[in-house]
Every structure is written in C-alpha cells, then in structure tokens.
C-alpha cells in the first residue's frame, strides 16, 4: 500500500497560500484506503509482541522462556542480551534500556519480545515466559526524589535536571502578595492510531526497512541504528500513516523491538500495540506541582514572581530536561515582569516516563500562573480581564531570562478581542436537557446549575530551544508544469501535506503538486513538534521552490533576452514586469527538469546560565481563552458551554486547517481540565484503557468561537507562526477558573474531579 498523494483539488480557486485548500489525503482517509502504519501487511509476515513488567520497581531475578518455546508458531524470543548494539536509547540522555536486564523501573517496562504466527500465539507466548521478580521499594514522590538521602533508582540519579532563574532584584516586595500551590495530573496524548510498525529485514541481516508512525524519522533512525549496531544508512525508515501524535511519537517505543525481531527471524515482523499497551508504551505529559508567590503594585502591575516547579519525569529521562526549561521559562506567562526567583526540578521516580505532549511544559506553567493572576485580581478588586491587560506583554518586553521578545506580541489584542465575543445564552431550564452537565445521563437538576466564567492567557515558545541545532530540508523538482516535493516531515494529521502544496502553487504558479514518499531518503526535517513544521519545513519547501523559480526565470529570461529580475509569477503565469511577456509556467517548463534542495535553519539560540539567563528560545506565540461552564454542584458535573478565543497566528496560511488546530487543541485542553488523568498509585497505573481514561466526546465539545489575530511575523519564513500548541495551553486554566467562579471553591488541581466540586474544603 502506498499513500495517495493526489494533487488536484476539487474546490475552485487555485488553492494557494491563504485559502482553505483541501488535504490531498482527505478523500482516501474518508474511504478507508489511506494506509496507516497499522494497515501494512507483508508476505510471510510474523507478529511481534512485548513482555512488560507488572511492577514499578523490581529486580529481575530470572527469565525462563522454556514453556513459551513449546508453543507452536513461536519463532523468536529476545531479551536484553540479544540487543547487538547499544543497550539503551533516549532523545536527550540515552538512559532507557531496550529491554530491562537486572532491574525494572516502571510498570510496563519491556523485558522481552516474541515473534509468532498470530497475535493470539504471541499473547500466549508472553504469558508462558516465566519471569521472577523481587520487588524493590517504589520511589513515587517528587520530593523524595529530590531529597539527596533517597537511594538512586538509576545510575544517572533521581534528579534529571534542576534549573534556577534569578533575575532583577530578588529582594523586592510588592504591595500585594498572593500565593498558591497548583497541581497538574498526568495526561495522555491518546492519539487514536495505536503504535504500529512493520519491519522488513534485508537479506542476511545487513540492514532493515521500517514502516512506522513517528514524529521524527531521522532521530528514530539514529537511535534504532545505534541499538541494532548498524550504520544509519542500513536502516531505512518510511512514514506509515500517522493516526495522531501530540508528542507521544517523539520517543522510541516499538521501533527497536520490531527491527530486532525481523532481523532475528529473517522475516517481516509487524508489531501493533493494544490500547492498554499504548498507555505503557509511550511517554505522557508530566504531572507537576508548582508553588508561586506573585508580587504586584497597587495598580496590579507584576513586581516579582517567586516559587518553584516540580515535574515528574518518571523512570527515564526522555525529554524531561527540555520540558523543564520550557516550564520554568514560561512561569511569568504573557506578562511583563522584571524580577524573579524560581527553582525547577525534573525528577526521576518509578512512575511512568513522561516527555513530550502538545504544550511541552508550558501547559503546567500556565495552569499555575493563570491561577495566580486571578488571585491577584481578587486581592486587588480588579476584573480578570483588567489584571491581564495591565500586565500584557508586548514586542520589546524582556522575559525574566533576559531574552527580549522580538516576535509580534499582540497579547492585549488577543484579550480584548476575546472579551468582545458575545457570551452564550443562559443554561437550559428544561429537566433532562442533554445540554446540561451530565449530558445524556440526564442527571442534572436545572435548578441547581451554576454558571461560571474564567480566563486564561498564555505565551508559548515556537521551535526548539537552548542552542539546539535545528534544521529542515526539502527538495523541489519542476518538470513539465508539475512540481514534486520531497521532505521527511512527518504528517501526523496537522496538514503539512496541504500546506506544502499551497506553498509550491503560490511560489511556482503550478496547479499540480506531487508529494513524494515521506522517508529517510532526504535530509532530516526535524520533529513534527514544538509548533515548528510550518516555520521549519514550510521554510524549507518555500526555499526550495524559490530556488527552482530562480532557475526557471533565468531560463525564460535567457530565451527572451530579459533580465530574470524583471520576472514574477502571477497566478499560473510568468510575467515580465517591464514588458509584454506573459507565458504559462506549464509551457515555460515543458521539457525542463529543475531540481533544487533547500535547508532551512532558524536563528541560533543559547543555553541558560546558572541564573537562568540567556536567549534560549527562538520566537513566541500568544493566545487568550475565555471559558463559560455550567456546574452541577450537587453531582460535581461540569459542562463546558463555550470557549471564546483569539490567537496570535502571524499570517493565516489555511483558515480551515487553522480552525481545526484551534478546535482540536481546545478539546485536549478541556480534557485536561475536567476528565483526563492517568491515575498512578505508588507507581501502579490504574486506568490504562479508554473505559477508565476519559476523553472528550462529541457531547463534551463546547461551542468554540475563534478569532485569528493575523499580524505578519517578520521572523518567520512565511510570516506565519506555528499554531498547533497554543490552543491547548490556556484553555485548561480558563475552564478551571470558570469552575472556581461558578462554585466559589479554590480548586488548585487539574483535572477537576467531582469530589473537588462537591466535597472540597
């Protein structure tokens, strides 16, 4: 199966930048013939499966596969000793074993893998492998992890990273001081398309090809090759259709296991996680505890922010170190403030490993700083809107890392335009209305419903930080009026495929844009994360198309004895701005083949010093959210009625795709506000299923009224900011603030549970 890269859009108009061009993979996805990574099959294929630890912390005393080998159809059973290359992997620190050898550090850690003729055979084989564990004391508390007297559960220690920010006058005191401790639960990305991959071994085990759903093909390849003991060019990755990602596909999950099984058996091997295994197989959003003390003057202006942030990284480092820096550097929110004293820790515990999820540390920071802004407003007798307007950051303001915000920063405009959106009608007074909290349960008594309104505003860095050498490559080929684009950018649902076509149509004046297979046969595009692909891969596609256009203009200019600088693209034609020449791109490129590759880089960033000072981020985006909720205070039920939002997006490139990002992000933020939490008791995950881990359904979807704040961003190649993460960040504190407003309760944690509404205080 090969995924469609159909090129002609049915809708009228030219589907250039700025239009709601339709996705090239859309029809195939509705018809069920778009190939997700789980949809690939191969001749003579085996199934693979992973044996995982049931304990959060234990010594592995012995592993005995004898009984499993007796099951007909079992072709391979592999353990830590069967890893030919590096025994560990990891995005930042290589601290996570491919298979646990002597010790397991979290519930669900891989211990062995099998390959067999049927998924049911695999299941039975896993059940037949005898592993003797000796349980060890479980380190599950962040404070215990930070305490130096606690025995280390990993050679790298129990603190993955500590960072401090001290800026301005640390001793300054405001007229008004408010403080609070905020808690954020562990959220799961819960993409729909479960982890799946199919590995094809090369003859003799010389190499391997892996079809996989991932966010970053080249980084996967590097880590896989290291573990397999192969050089990277012997490992070829092809992007299988990706059923959502949201950060959970940035780390290695089944990649190495699948390749190992294929190389061991000499046969294609497919591994596909169940939903339960998926909960154990990928990293989650860090749960956190944040204490903040905000100082302000009488006018409400922030004077100082002090406090601490603790994020639990769980058993292995993943991206915790980067998440932590994002978290602490965003604790001031989108507000000007010169003085700060802050400490942040990312801890290692025997809880599930945590890493990237949409918002990447800023979700946690925002929940705390927005709670604080409301406390300040209350202490000063101001409205939630006014306190935020008084402090709203603008271009040229300095962050407390010393970095000047030189991005477009329309924070006040985001707040004002959100405030201008009309409020929804009053709640239904009809008993049994499905619109009430409780929905189809029809449980709420309309007389007991209380309405609340709350605010959240956020700042989010775009792209990678701290000096990371980030780049994206793309190739454009123009031949006979048709452009072909090649890149390794993971399309995970966000719609880069349509954006790339729009760019090529706009720059080159072509209608037909073919997308080549997304694989490792070109340089890295970096990860589809950090709201970076529009800027990075968009910049690369734009750059490659521009180079092609230059060559095309040179060709046409040469033919007509003109200066190429006189030529421009108008629609689908090349036009001489100083003369009568007008020639269709399709005609001008007939018989030609122009191919250009472009590597896009953003400006360099720096690491923070020991006081947390430095230009560590590339650029920023802002957003405001206002939530309206109805709360049944008897039953502890919440219905999110409306989310109003205005988002700083730079140039709008595809209004419909933008709206999709906004609405989708809001639903995820709503999930974190009122229902989504991986419940972990002393390292034991209690709810690894969609029955017990609740996700927003169609009935939970609020009315979303969204206004894009369109101001061209000069730093960005297309004038456009990344739009993927901001929608999900401040919506969570806005909803929780609305619940506080409705109930009068000081709710300090998210997600808000029924008992927090009914029984708290």
């Amino acid at each position: 199966m090969k995924n469609a890269t159909s090129t002609t859009n049915r809708s009228t108009g030219r589907n250039v930048l700025g239009t709601s061009a339709l996705r090239p993979d859309g029809v195939a996805k509705t018809q069920g013939n778009f190939a997700f990574s789980s949809d690939f099959q191969a001749e003579n294929m085996l199934w693979g499966a992973t044996l995982r630890s049931p304990h959060p912390h234990a010594r592995v005393v012995s592993i005995d596969p004898t009984e499993a080998w007796k099951i007909a159809g079992v072709e391979a059973i592999i353990f830590a000793d069967d890893v030919p290359g590096k025994a560990t992997y990891g995005l930042i620190a290589s601290d996570q074993p491919v298979f646990a050898r002597d010790v397991v550090r979290y519930m669900g850690e891989p211990v062995a893998a099998v390959a067999a003729d049927h998924p049911e055979t695999c299941r039975r084989a896993l059940a037949a492998i005898k592993v003797v564990y000796e349980q060890l004391p479980v380190l599950s508390d962040m404070d215990a992890a930070i305490d130096p007297s606690t025995p280390a559960i990993h050679p790298d220690g129990n603190v993955i990273r500590h960072q401090r920010i001290v800026s301005g006058d640390p001793n300054i005191v405001g007229d008004v001081v408010v403080e609070g401790t905020y808690e954020i639960g562990m959220q799961d990305q819960a993409f729909l398309g479960l982890e799946a991959a199919l590995a094809y071994p090369d003859p003799g085990g010389a190499g391997v090809e892996l079809v996989v759903a991932t966010q970053w093909l080249h980084e996967d390849r590097k880590q896989i090759a290291d573990c397999l003991g192969l050089s990277p060019e012997k490992v070829r990755l092809v992007l299988g259709g990706v059923g959502g990602a949201f950060g959970a596909r940035e780390d290695i999950s089944l990649q190495v296991h699948t390749c190992l099984l294929a190389l061991r058996t000499g046969r294609p091997v497919k591994v596909q996680y169940s939903r339960e295994e998926s909960f154990f197989g990928h990293v989650h959003r860090h749960p956190g505890r944040i204490h903040l003390r905000h100082h302000a003057d009488r006018s409400g202006k922030l004077v100082k922010v002090e406090g601490w942030m603790k994020l639990d990284g769980g058993a292995y480092a993943s991206t915790s170190a980067a998440v932590l820096i994002n978290g602490i550097t965003h604790l001031q929110g989108p507000y000007a403030c010169d003085n700060a004293v802050l400490d942040a820790w990312a801890t290692r515990t025997n809880n599930p490993p945590c890493g990237a999820m949409r918002g990447f540390g800023v979700v946690q920071a925002c929940f705390a700083h927005e709670g604080q802004m409301d406390r300040l407003a209350e202490a000063l007798g101001m409205s939630p809107v006014d306190i935020r307007l008084v402090n709203a950051m603008k271009t040229g303001d300095k962050l407390f890392t010393g970095q000047v915000v030189d991005s477009v920063a329309p924070v006040a405009r985001c707040i004002r335009e959100t405030a201008d959106i009309p409020l929804p009608p009053e709640p239904s007074r009809v008993t049994g209305s499905l619109e009430l909290p409780g929905g189809s349960g029809r449980t709420s008594d309309p007389g007991h419903i209380r309405r609340g309104v709350g605010w959240g505003v956020s700042i989010k860095n775009l792209m990678y930080s701290e000096g990371f050498d980030d780049s994206a490559e793309a190739k454009c080929t123009l031949a006979d009026g048709v452009a072909t684009l090649k890149f390794a950018t993971a399309e995970v649902g966000q719609g880069f495929v349509v954006l790339a076509q729009q760019i090529a149509r706009t720059v080159l004046g072509v209608d037909t844009v073919i997308l080549d297979t997304i694989d490792t046969q070109i340089g890295s595009a970096g990860s589809t994360s950090a709201s970076r692909q529009t800027w990075m891969s968009g910049g690369a596609v734009d750059g490659a198309c521009r180079l092609v256009r230059e060559r095309l203009f040179e060709h046409v200019a040469h033919l007509h004895n003109l200066d190429p600088l006189q030529l421009v693209i108008e629609g689908t034609e090349i036009v001489d701005t100083l003369g009568p020449l007008r020639v269709a791109v399709a005609d001008a490129s007939t018989g030609l083949r122009i191919e250009q590759t472009f590597l896009h880089r953003h400006r360099a960033t720096e690491e923070l010093d020991e006081n947390g000072q430095g230009n560590c981020h590339v650029a920023f985006a802002f957003v405001a959210h206002r939530a309206v909720v109805d709360v049944d205070t008897d039953l502890g039920l919440v219905k999110v009625v409306q989310i109003a939002t205005a988002q700083d997006v730079g140039q709008v490139l595809n209004p419909m795709a933008l709206l999709g990002q906004i609405e989708g992000g809001i639903a995820q933020g709503l999930g974190l506000a009122v229902m989504e939490e991986i419940v972990v008791d002393d390292g034991i995950v209690r709810n690894p299923s969609f029955t017990d881990y609740l996700l927003p359904t169609a009935l939970d979807a609020p009315d979303v009224v969204a206004i894009p704040i369109e101001e061209y961003e000069p730093l960005a190649p297309l004038g456009a900011k990344g739009v993927g993460e901001p929608p999900c960040i401040s919506v969570t504190p806005a909803i929780v603030a609305a619940i506080r407003n409705a109930t009068g309760r000081a709710i300090m944690r998210t997600p808000v549970r029924p008992q927090d509404i009914c029984l708290a205080d």
Binding site: Q31, H118, G243, G660
Partner: protein, 163 residues
C-alpha cells in the same frame, strides 16, 4: 496456531467472502482487516469505546471489535469500503473533506459509517441529536467542530434535494 480453526462465509459489502483457517476467537474487526484485507475499519481500543471500528451489521451500527467474526455469518456486513464502492466519495465522505473534518483520519472511517447510519435513520437531526449519535466515536484531533459542520452540510444538501 495448531488449534481448531474454522471455515465460514461472510456477506461483506454485498459479496460472499470466504474466511479460511480462522482461529475461532477472532473478532470481526480482525477478520475484516487481516483476513479479508479491508483495512478501512480501524482498531483504536478493541473495547467498544472509540467507534473507530464501526460497521453496519444488518443495518445497525456496531463496533466490529466487539463482534465475534464467526457470529456474523448470515448477517449483512457493510464497511466503509462498501459505502461508495465505485470510488466516487459519498456525500458524507465529500463533506468531511470539504469541511475540514479530517485531520489524522484514524477516526474518520468509523465516523463516516456512523454519520451514514444516523442520517439514514434521522434525515433531519438537531445538533444535540447529532452529538449524541456521534458520541461513541472518539476523535482526538479535530475537537469535533468541523465534523458537526460536515454533518450539517450533508443534511442541508439532502434536504435541498428532497424539496
């Protein structure tokens, strides 16, 4: 597998399809995908919670992950592939694309079947009826807004065609 396997026939999208050497414990979703090559139905929970695997069984929308394949013998099974067999998208499929209701697309085939089922039985649903009917189909990407827009479009167009 050495265990008892079964041979039976299923009626899928109007054709009789033989299922050979199937382990008796296989779900309808597994057989459709892995034995009959109909990859349109997706599995995202295999627990009846997400609706990605929705097919019609004798006209009812069901989660194919919860149906034992061998028990579907004698029933008429309609999968997403059978909704518009000639390759031209159905009005619902077209509206999903045109209205931006497709992002990653993993939920999409199940939703397409669910929307067809809804509108076959209730051609003019209120928005809350739409939401309730689709509340068994989880979409993690879109936040549902564009999906509702797609359904509204189809309802309006079909209404126009009737009047």
């Amino acid at each position: 597998m050495t265990e008892t396997t079964a041979f039976y026939e299923l009626n899928v999208n109007g054709s009789r399809r033989e299922v050979r050497d199937s382990w008796i414990g296989e779900s309808l979703l597994y057989v459709l995908r892995e034995r009959l090559g109909l990859m349109g139905s997706k599995g995202a929970c295999e627990q009846g919670e997400c609706g990605s695997c929705t097919v019609m069984l004798d006209g009812d929308a069901v989660c194919s992950c919860l149906v034992l394949s061998a028990s579907a013998v004698g029933s008429e099974i309609l999968t997403v592939e059978g909704l518009a067999p000639n390759g031209e998208p159905s009005d619902v499929q077209r509206a999903f694309v045109d209205q931006g209701a497709v992002q990653c697309g993993f939920c999409t085939p199940g939703l397409i079947v669910a929307v067809h089922h809804l509108l076959d039985n209730n051609p003019d649903p209120t928005m809350i009826e739409v939401k309730e009917a689709l509340s068994g189909n989880i979409c993690r990407c879109t936040g549902y807004g564009r999906i509702f827009a797609a359904v509204e479009t189809v309802v309006a167009v079909r209404k126009g065609a009737r009047s």
